[in-house]
Amino acid sequence: MTSVMSFFDIMLVLALPWLGWRLLASPDLFRAVVLFISLGLLMSLTWVRLHAPDVALAEAAIGAGLTGALFLSALRRLERMQDSERRLDYAEKREEERQAPPARRRRSKPIAYGLALLLLVFFLVLLGWSLVKTSVSPGGLGPAVTGQMGQTGVQSQVTAVLLNFRGYDTLLEVMVLFLAALGSWSLTRIRQPLPEEVAAPVLASLVRLLVPLMIIVAGYLVWIGSSRAGGAFQGGAVLGAAGVLLLLADVTVVRQIPSALLRWALVLGPLLFLLSAIACMWIGGNLLEYPRQSAGAWILLIESATAVSIGVTLAALYAGGRPLEPSALEEAGEVASESGGDEGEGE
Protein backbone atom coordinates (compact mmCIF):
# COMPACT_ATOMS: atom_id res chain seq x y z
CA MET A 1 0.00 0.00 0.00
CA THR A 2 2.60 2.51 1.02
CA SER A 3 4.85 1.97 -1.97
CA VAL A 4 1.92 2.24 -4.35
CA MET A 5 0.80 5.37 -2.57
CA SER A 6 4.21 6.91 -2.99
CA PHE A 7 3.90 6.33 -6.72
CA PHE A 8 0.60 8.14 -6.45
CA ASP A 9 2.38 10.97 -4.66
CA ILE A 10 5.12 11.25 -7.22
CA MET A 11 2.62 11.26 -10.03
CA LEU A 12 0.67 14.10 -8.43
CA VAL A 13 3.79 16.04 -7.49
CA LEU A 14 5.02 15.94 -11.06
CA ALA A 15 1.66 16.45 -12.71
CA LEU A 16 0.72 19.62 -10.82
CA PRO A 17 3.61 21.88 -11.88
CA TRP A 18 3.65 20.40 -15.35
CA LEU A 19 -0.02 21.16 -15.73
CA GLY A 20 0.57 24.68 -14.46
CA TRP A 21 3.37 25.16 -16.94
CA ARG A 22 1.41 23.85 -19.90
CA LEU A 23 -1.51 25.97 -18.85
CA LEU A 24 0.40 29.20 -19.04
CA ALA A 25 2.39 28.17 -22.09
CA SER A 26 -0.52 27.06 -24.25
CA PRO A 27 -1.20 29.53 -27.04
CA ASP A 28 -4.93 28.91 -26.90
CA LEU A 29 -6.75 30.51 -24.02
CA PHE A 30 -9.59 28.04 -24.07
CA ARG A 31 -7.19 25.14 -23.68
CA ALA A 32 -5.58 26.96 -20.79
CA VAL A 33 -8.95 27.20 -19.07
CA VAL A 34 -9.67 23.51 -19.55
CA LEU A 35 -6.25 22.67 -18.18
CA PHE A 36 -7.06 24.89 -15.24
CA ILE A 37 -10.23 22.91 -14.58
CA SER A 38 -8.25 19.68 -14.61
CA LEU A 39 -5.72 21.27 -12.32
CA GLY A 40 -8.53 21.98 -9.86
CA LEU A 41 -9.49 18.33 -10.02
CA LEU A 42 -5.96 17.15 -9.36
CA MET A 43 -5.65 19.67 -6.54
CA SER A 44 -8.73 18.16 -4.98
CA LEU A 45 -7.17 14.71 -5.14
CA THR A 46 -4.05 16.20 -3.60
CA TRP A 47 -6.02 17.58 -0.70
CA VAL A 48 -7.49 14.14 -0.14
CA ARG A 49 -4.02 12.66 -0.17
CA LEU A 50 -2.85 15.23 2.35
CA HIS A 51 -5.75 14.40 4.67
CA ALA A 52 -7.58 17.67 4.25
CA PRO A 53 -11.13 16.53 3.43
CA ASP A 54 -12.68 19.93 4.17
CA VAL A 55 -10.41 21.62 1.70
CA ALA A 56 -10.96 18.84 -0.81
CA LEU A 57 -14.71 19.33 -0.58
CA ALA A 58 -14.42 23.04 -1.18
CA GLU A 59 -11.99 22.53 -4.04
CA ALA A 60 -14.23 19.89 -5.61
CA ALA A 61 -17.12 22.33 -5.63
CA ILE A 62 -15.20 25.47 -6.49
CA GLY A 63 -12.04 24.50 -8.32
CA ALA A 64 -13.48 21.77 -10.47
CA GLY A 65 -16.93 23.26 -10.99
CA LEU A 66 -17.50 26.93 -10.35
CA THR A 67 -14.20 28.45 -11.42
CA GLY A 68 -14.35 26.55 -14.68
CA ALA A 69 -17.81 27.85 -15.44
CA LEU A 70 -16.68 31.38 -14.54
CA PHE A 71 -13.70 31.30 -16.85
CA LEU A 72 -15.56 29.66 -19.70
CA SER A 73 -18.28 32.27 -19.60
CA ALA A 74 -15.80 35.13 -19.34
CA LEU A 75 -13.90 33.71 -22.28
CA ARG A 76 -17.02 33.70 -24.34
CA ARG A 77 -17.85 37.22 -23.36
CA LEU A 78 -14.40 38.46 -24.25
CA GLU A 79 -14.44 36.63 -27.50
CA ARG A 80 -17.83 37.93 -28.52
CA MET A 81 -16.61 41.43 -28.02
CA GLN A 82 -13.71 40.95 -30.38
CA ASP A 83 -14.01 41.20 -34.10
CA SER A 84 -16.42 38.71 -35.43
CA GLU A 85 -14.11 37.15 -37.97
CA ARG A 86 -11.45 36.34 -35.45
CA ARG A 87 -11.71 32.87 -34.03
CA LEU A 88 -11.39 31.89 -30.42
CA ASP A 89 -8.42 29.68 -31.14
CA TYR A 90 -5.20 31.56 -31.27
CA ALA A 91 -6.97 34.88 -31.01
CA GLU A 92 -4.46 36.01 -28.51
CA LYS A 93 -1.51 34.97 -30.58
CA ARG A 94 -2.75 36.82 -33.59
CA GLU A 95 -3.46 39.87 -31.54
CA GLU A 96 0.06 39.85 -30.29
CA GLU A 97 1.46 39.44 -33.75
CA ARG A 98 -0.67 42.20 -35.04
CA GLN A 99 0.38 44.57 -32.35
CA ALA A 100 4.09 44.00 -32.30
CA PRO A 101 6.18 42.63 -35.10
CA PRO A 102 8.38 39.85 -33.72
CA ALA A 103 11.65 41.54 -34.53
CA ARG A 104 10.92 44.63 -32.53
CA ARG A 105 9.60 42.60 -29.65
CA ARG A 106 12.75 40.58 -29.42
CA ARG A 107 14.85 43.67 -29.20
CA SER A 108 12.93 45.33 -26.43
CA LYS A 109 12.29 42.34 -24.25
CA PRO A 110 15.45 40.61 -23.05
CA ILE A 111 16.53 43.12 -20.43
CA ALA A 112 13.17 43.44 -18.80
CA TYR A 113 12.59 39.75 -19.03
CA GLY A 114 16.00 38.97 -17.58
CA LEU A 115 15.34 41.30 -14.68
CA ALA A 116 12.00 39.69 -14.03
CA LEU A 117 13.58 36.26 -14.15
CA LEU A 118 16.26 37.35 -11.73
CA LEU A 119 13.63 38.66 -9.36
CA LEU A 120 11.75 35.43 -9.70
CA VAL A 121 14.77 33.31 -8.88
CA PHE A 122 15.53 35.54 -5.94
CA PHE A 123 12.01 35.13 -4.65
CA LEU A 124 12.19 31.41 -5.10
CA VAL A 125 15.43 31.03 -3.25
CA LEU A 126 14.04 33.15 -0.45
CA LEU A 127 10.87 31.10 -0.31
CA GLY A 128 12.63 27.76 -0.45
CA TRP A 129 15.02 28.87 2.24
CA SER A 130 12.20 29.99 4.50
CA LEU A 131 10.40 26.75 3.80
CA VAL A 132 13.37 24.74 4.95
CA LYS A 133 14.10 27.01 7.89
CA THR A 134 10.59 27.22 9.26
CA SER A 135 10.29 24.90 12.17
CA VAL A 136 6.84 23.62 12.87
CA SER A 137 6.20 22.39 16.35
CA PRO A 138 4.89 18.84 16.18
CA GLY A 139 1.19 18.92 15.46
CA GLY A 140 1.23 22.69 15.09
CA LEU A 141 -1.83 24.06 16.79
CA GLY A 142 -3.48 20.65 16.67
CA PRO A 143 -3.02 19.76 20.34
CA ALA A 144 -4.27 23.17 21.44
CA VAL A 145 -7.38 22.77 19.32
CA THR A 146 -7.97 19.22 20.51
CA GLY A 147 -7.66 20.34 24.10
CA GLN A 148 -10.37 22.96 23.79
CA MET A 149 -12.78 21.00 21.60
CA GLY A 150 -15.15 20.31 24.47
CA GLN A 151 -16.14 23.95 24.69
CA THR A 152 -16.88 24.56 21.06
CA GLY A 153 -20.17 22.76 20.67
CA VAL A 154 -19.06 20.98 17.51
CA GLN A 155 -17.04 17.85 16.82
CA SER A 156 -15.28 18.86 13.64
CA GLN A 157 -12.01 20.57 14.37
CA VAL A 158 -11.99 22.65 11.23
CA THR A 159 -15.49 23.93 11.89
CA ALA A 160 -14.49 24.72 15.46
CA VAL A 161 -11.55 26.75 14.22
CA LEU A 162 -13.59 28.47 11.56
CA LEU A 163 -16.58 29.49 13.57
CA ASN A 164 -15.50 29.43 17.15
CA PHE A 165 -11.81 29.96 17.76
CA ARG A 166 -11.26 32.25 14.83
CA GLY A 167 -14.81 33.37 14.29
CA TYR A 168 -13.76 36.93 13.61
CA ASP A 169 -11.64 35.78 10.70
CA THR A 170 -14.59 34.05 9.17
CA LEU A 171 -16.77 37.06 9.83
CA LEU A 172 -14.36 39.26 7.95
CA GLU A 173 -14.10 36.69 5.21
CA VAL A 174 -17.84 36.65 4.73
CA MET A 175 -17.62 40.42 4.53
CA VAL A 176 -14.97 40.08 1.83
CA LEU A 177 -17.32 37.91 -0.19
CA PHE A 178 -20.05 40.47 0.28
CA LEU A 179 -17.68 43.19 -0.89
CA ALA A 180 -16.83 41.15 -3.95
CA ALA A 181 -20.50 40.91 -4.82
CA LEU A 182 -20.87 44.65 -4.25
CA GLY A 183 -17.87 45.32 -6.44
CA SER A 184 -19.16 43.23 -9.26
CA TRP A 185 -22.57 44.87 -9.01
CA SER A 186 -21.10 48.33 -9.10
CA LEU A 187 -18.92 47.51 -12.07
CA THR A 188 -21.43 46.31 -14.58
CA ARG A 189 -25.03 45.65 -15.21
CA ILE A 190 -26.33 42.47 -16.62
CA ARG A 191 -27.35 43.19 -20.13
CA GLN A 192 -30.03 41.80 -22.30
CA PRO A 193 -29.88 38.04 -22.47
CA LEU A 194 -29.17 36.46 -25.79
CA PRO A 195 -32.02 36.08 -28.17
CA GLU A 196 -33.52 32.76 -27.30
CA GLU A 197 -32.30 29.88 -29.34
CA VAL A 198 -33.92 26.50 -29.53
CA ALA A 199 -34.04 25.30 -25.97
CA ALA A 200 -32.39 22.02 -25.15
CA PRO A 201 -34.95 19.71 -23.59
CA VAL A 202 -32.23 17.57 -22.05
CA LEU A 203 -30.86 20.58 -20.27
CA ALA A 204 -34.22 21.36 -18.75
CA SER A 205 -34.56 17.89 -17.32
CA LEU A 206 -30.98 17.94 -16.12
CA VAL A 207 -31.70 21.12 -14.22
CA ARG A 208 -34.89 19.67 -12.85
CA LEU A 209 -33.00 16.66 -11.53
CA LEU A 210 -29.78 18.21 -10.36
CA VAL A 211 -30.79 21.48 -8.77
CA PRO A 212 -32.99 20.00 -6.03
CA LEU A 213 -30.32 17.41 -5.34
CA MET A 214 -27.69 20.11 -5.11
CA ILE A 215 -29.79 22.02 -2.61
CA ILE A 216 -30.27 18.88 -0.53
CA VAL A 217 -26.56 18.12 -0.65
CA ALA A 218 -25.78 21.70 0.36
CA GLY A 219 -28.03 21.35 3.37
CA TYR A 220 -26.46 18.02 4.17
CA LEU A 221 -22.98 19.49 4.02
CA VAL A 222 -23.90 22.33 6.34
CA TRP A 223 -25.51 19.92 8.76
CA ILE A 224 -22.71 17.36 8.69
CA GLY A 225 -20.17 20.16 9.06
CA SER A 226 -20.48 20.11 12.82
CA SER A 227 -19.15 16.59 13.07
CA ARG A 228 -17.26 15.84 9.85
CA ALA A 229 -15.92 17.53 6.78
CA GLY A 230 -18.38 20.05 5.49
CA GLY A 231 -19.74 23.37 6.56
CA ALA A 232 -20.93 26.72 5.39
CA PHE A 233 -18.34 27.23 2.67
CA GLN A 234 -18.76 23.85 1.07
CA GLY A 235 -22.53 24.01 1.33
CA GLY A 236 -22.51 27.52 -0.04
CA ALA A 237 -20.31 26.49 -2.92
CA VAL A 238 -22.66 23.68 -3.89
CA LEU A 239 -25.57 26.07 -3.59
CA GLY A 240 -23.73 28.53 -5.79
CA ALA A 241 -23.22 25.78 -8.34
CA ALA A 242 -26.96 25.16 -8.31
CA GLY A 243 -27.46 28.86 -8.97
CA VAL A 244 -25.00 28.77 -11.84
CA LEU A 245 -26.79 25.81 -13.36
CA LEU A 246 -30.07 27.70 -13.14
CA LEU A 247 -28.46 30.71 -14.77
CA LEU A 248 -26.99 28.58 -17.52
CA ALA A 249 -30.31 27.01 -18.29
CA ASP A 250 -31.85 30.46 -18.20
CA VAL A 251 -34.86 29.28 -16.25
CA THR A 252 -37.68 31.77 -16.27
CA VAL A 253 -38.32 31.44 -12.55
CA VAL A 254 -34.88 32.76 -11.82
CA ARG A 255 -35.51 35.83 -13.88
CA GLN A 256 -38.60 36.61 -11.92
CA ILE A 257 -36.99 36.62 -8.50
CA PRO A 258 -37.58 40.11 -7.18
CA SER A 259 -34.41 42.07 -6.83
CA ALA A 260 -35.13 42.91 -3.21
CA LEU A 261 -35.24 39.24 -2.29
CA LEU A 262 -31.89 38.71 -3.93
CA ARG A 263 -30.39 41.61 -2.05
CA TRP A 264 -31.71 40.32 1.24
CA ALA A 265 -30.32 36.87 0.53
CA LEU A 266 -26.94 38.45 -0.15
CA VAL A 267 -27.02 40.35 3.10
CA LEU A 268 -28.55 37.63 5.26
CA GLY A 269 -25.34 35.79 6.14
CA PRO A 270 -23.08 38.73 6.94
CA LEU A 271 -25.87 40.49 8.81
CA LEU A 272 -26.78 37.50 10.94
CA PHE A 273 -23.15 36.78 11.64
CA LEU A 274 -22.52 40.35 12.71
CA LEU A 275 -25.67 40.52 14.79
CA SER A 276 -24.88 37.30 16.60
CA ALA A 277 -21.34 38.49 17.20
CA ILE A 278 -22.74 41.61 18.84
CA ALA A 279 -25.40 39.61 20.64
CA CYS A 280 -22.65 37.53 22.23
CA MET A 281 -21.21 40.72 23.65
CA TRP A 282 -24.60 41.75 24.89
CA ILE A 283 -25.23 38.42 26.58
CA GLY A 284 -22.05 38.94 28.44
CA GLY A 285 -18.99 37.65 26.72
CA ASN A 286 -16.52 38.90 24.24
CA LEU A 287 -17.16 39.39 20.58
CA LEU A 288 -18.22 36.05 19.12
CA GLU A 289 -17.92 34.24 22.43
CA TYR A 290 -20.98 32.05 22.25
CA PRO A 291 -22.64 30.83 25.42
CA ARG A 292 -21.10 27.46 26.21
CA GLN A 293 -24.27 25.36 26.33
CA SER A 294 -25.78 26.56 23.10
CA ALA A 295 -22.62 27.08 21.09
CA GLY A 296 -23.53 24.30 18.68
CA ALA A 297 -26.90 25.86 17.90
CA TRP A 298 -25.36 29.30 17.38
CA ILE A 299 -22.82 27.87 15.00
CA LEU A 300 -25.41 25.94 13.05
CA LEU A 301 -27.62 29.02 12.74
CA ILE A 302 -24.76 31.18 11.55
CA GLU A 303 -23.55 28.51 9.19
CA SER A 304 -26.92 28.03 7.55
CA ALA A 305 -27.40 31.73 6.99
CA THR A 306 -23.85 32.12 5.72
CA ALA A 307 -24.21 29.18 3.37
CA VAL A 308 -27.28 30.75 1.77
CA SER A 309 -25.47 34.04 1.36
CA ILE A 310 -22.33 32.44 -0.03
CA GLY A 311 -24.39 30.50 -2.53
CA VAL A 312 -26.25 33.59 -3.69
CA THR A 313 -23.01 35.58 -3.78
CA LEU A 314 -21.26 33.02 -5.95
CA ALA A 315 -24.20 32.83 -8.31
CA ALA A 316 -24.36 36.62 -8.47
CA LEU A 317 -20.64 36.77 -9.16
CA TYR A 318 -21.16 34.33 -11.97
CA ALA A 319 -24.00 36.41 -13.36
CA GLY A 320 -21.46 39.18 -13.30
CA GLY A 321 -23.33 42.38 -12.78
CA ARG A 322 -26.15 44.21 -11.15
CA PRO A 323 -29.53 42.74 -11.94
CA LEU A 324 -31.94 44.94 -13.75
CA GLU A 325 -35.09 46.00 -12.04
CA PRO A 326 -37.92 43.86 -13.33
CA SER A 327 -39.93 46.99 -13.94
CA ALA A 328 -37.17 48.58 -15.96
CA LEU A 329 -37.04 45.82 -18.47
CA GLU A 330 -39.83 43.42 -18.77
CA GLU A 331 -37.88 40.96 -20.79
CA ALA A 332 -34.41 41.00 -19.37
CA GLY A 333 -34.44 38.92 -16.27
CA GLU A 334 -32.71 40.12 -13.25
CA VAL A 335 -30.19 37.37 -12.99
CA ALA A 336 -30.31 36.99 -16.68
CA SER A 337 -27.64 35.03 -18.36
CA GLU A 338 -24.19 36.47 -18.14
CA SER A 339 -23.80 36.41 -21.86
CA GLY A 340 -24.93 39.94 -21.71
CA GLY A 341 -21.60 41.28 -22.84
CA ASP A 342 -22.61 41.23 -26.45
CA GLU A 343 -23.36 44.76 -27.33
CA GLY A 344 -21.31 44.08 -30.39
CA GLU A 345 -24.44 42.48 -31.68
CA GLY A 346 -26.70 45.30 -30.81
CA GLU A 347 -24.55 47.96 -32.30
Binding site: R31, L35, P53, G68, L75, L194, I224, A229
Partner: protein, 87 residues
Amino acid sequence: MSWLYSTAALCLLCAIVAGLWRILRGPTAADSMLAAQLFGTCGVAILLLLSKGLNWVVLLDIALVFALLAALAAVAFALRTWGGTER
Protein backbone atom coordinates in the same frame (compact mmCIF):
# COMPACT_ATOMS: atom_id res chain seq x y z
CA MET B 1 -6.01 -6.76 0.00
CA SER B 2 -5.76 -3.02 0.13
CA TRP B 3 -3.14 -2.97 -2.61
CA LEU B 4 -6.03 -3.61 -4.96
CA TYR B 5 -7.60 -0.23 -4.25
CA SER B 6 -4.42 1.76 -4.34
CA THR B 7 -3.22 0.10 -7.51
CA ALA B 8 -6.55 0.68 -9.19
CA ALA B 9 -6.46 4.31 -8.07
CA LEU B 10 -2.97 4.65 -9.45
CA CYS B 11 -4.09 3.22 -12.80
CA LEU B 12 -6.88 5.76 -12.95
CA LEU B 13 -4.50 8.58 -12.11
CA CYS B 14 -2.28 7.40 -14.94
CA ALA B 15 -5.33 7.48 -17.20
CA ILE B 16 -5.93 11.09 -16.20
CA VAL B 17 -2.36 12.11 -16.86
CA ALA B 18 -2.43 10.35 -20.22
CA GLY B 19 -5.66 12.10 -21.05
CA LEU B 20 -4.00 15.46 -20.53
CA TRP B 21 -2.40 14.91 -23.87
CA ARG B 22 -5.78 15.12 -25.57
CA ILE B 23 -6.41 18.47 -23.93
CA LEU B 24 -3.14 19.76 -25.28
CA ARG B 25 -3.67 18.31 -28.72
CA GLY B 26 -7.42 18.28 -29.24
CA PRO B 27 -8.17 19.75 -32.62
CA THR B 28 -11.45 21.29 -31.53
CA ALA B 29 -12.27 22.85 -28.22
CA ALA B 30 -14.85 20.16 -27.52
CA ASP B 31 -12.21 17.45 -27.51
CA SER B 32 -10.40 19.14 -24.67
CA MET B 33 -13.64 19.54 -22.81
CA LEU B 34 -14.43 15.86 -23.22
CA ALA B 35 -11.10 14.98 -21.69
CA ALA B 36 -11.92 17.17 -18.72
CA GLN B 37 -15.24 15.38 -18.44
CA LEU B 38 -13.44 12.03 -18.36
CA PHE B 39 -11.17 13.35 -15.63
CA GLY B 40 -14.18 14.13 -13.50
CA THR B 41 -15.40 10.57 -13.73
CA CYS B 42 -11.93 9.19 -13.11
CA GLY B 43 -11.67 11.44 -10.08
CA VAL B 44 -14.93 10.07 -8.72
CA ALA B 45 -13.69 6.52 -9.20
CA ILE B 46 -10.37 7.31 -7.53
CA LEU B 47 -12.15 8.84 -4.56
CA LEU B 48 -14.44 5.84 -4.21
CA LEU B 49 -11.53 3.41 -4.35
CA LEU B 50 -9.51 5.43 -1.85
CA SER B 51 -12.46 5.70 0.46
CA LYS B 52 -12.60 1.93 0.58
CA GLY B 53 -8.83 1.48 0.71
CA LEU B 54 -8.24 4.03 3.45
CA ASN B 55 -11.53 3.19 5.14
CA TRP B 56 -12.50 6.83 5.14
CA VAL B 57 -16.18 7.60 4.72
CA VAL B 58 -15.74 11.33 4.16
CA LEU B 59 -14.36 10.67 0.72
CA LEU B 60 -17.78 9.48 -0.35
CA ASP B 61 -19.10 12.98 0.33
CA ILE B 62 -16.36 14.46 -1.79
CA ALA B 63 -17.12 12.01 -4.57
CA LEU B 64 -20.77 12.99 -4.30
CA VAL B 65 -19.93 16.66 -4.75
CA PHE B 66 -17.70 15.76 -7.68
CA ALA B 67 -20.47 13.77 -9.29
CA LEU B 68 -22.94 16.62 -8.78
CA LEU B 69 -20.70 19.25 -10.28
CA ALA B 70 -19.05 17.19 -12.99
CA ALA B 71 -21.60 18.29 -15.52
CA LEU B 72 -21.36 21.99 -14.67
CA ALA B 73 -18.24 22.86 -16.62
CA ALA B 74 -19.27 20.84 -19.66
CA VAL B 75 -22.73 22.41 -19.68
CA ALA B 76 -21.22 25.88 -19.36
CA PHE B 77 -18.95 25.04 -22.24
CA ALA B 78 -21.64 23.62 -24.50
CA LEU B 79 -24.04 26.49 -23.87
CA ARG B 80 -21.80 29.48 -23.43
CA THR B 81 -18.37 29.01 -24.88
CA TRP B 82 -19.13 26.93 -27.85
CA GLY B 83 -22.81 26.73 -28.49
CA GLY B 84 -25.29 29.48 -28.12
CA THR B 85 -25.71 31.74 -31.05
CA GLU B 86 -23.93 31.08 -34.24
CA ARG B 87 -20.57 32.58 -34.68
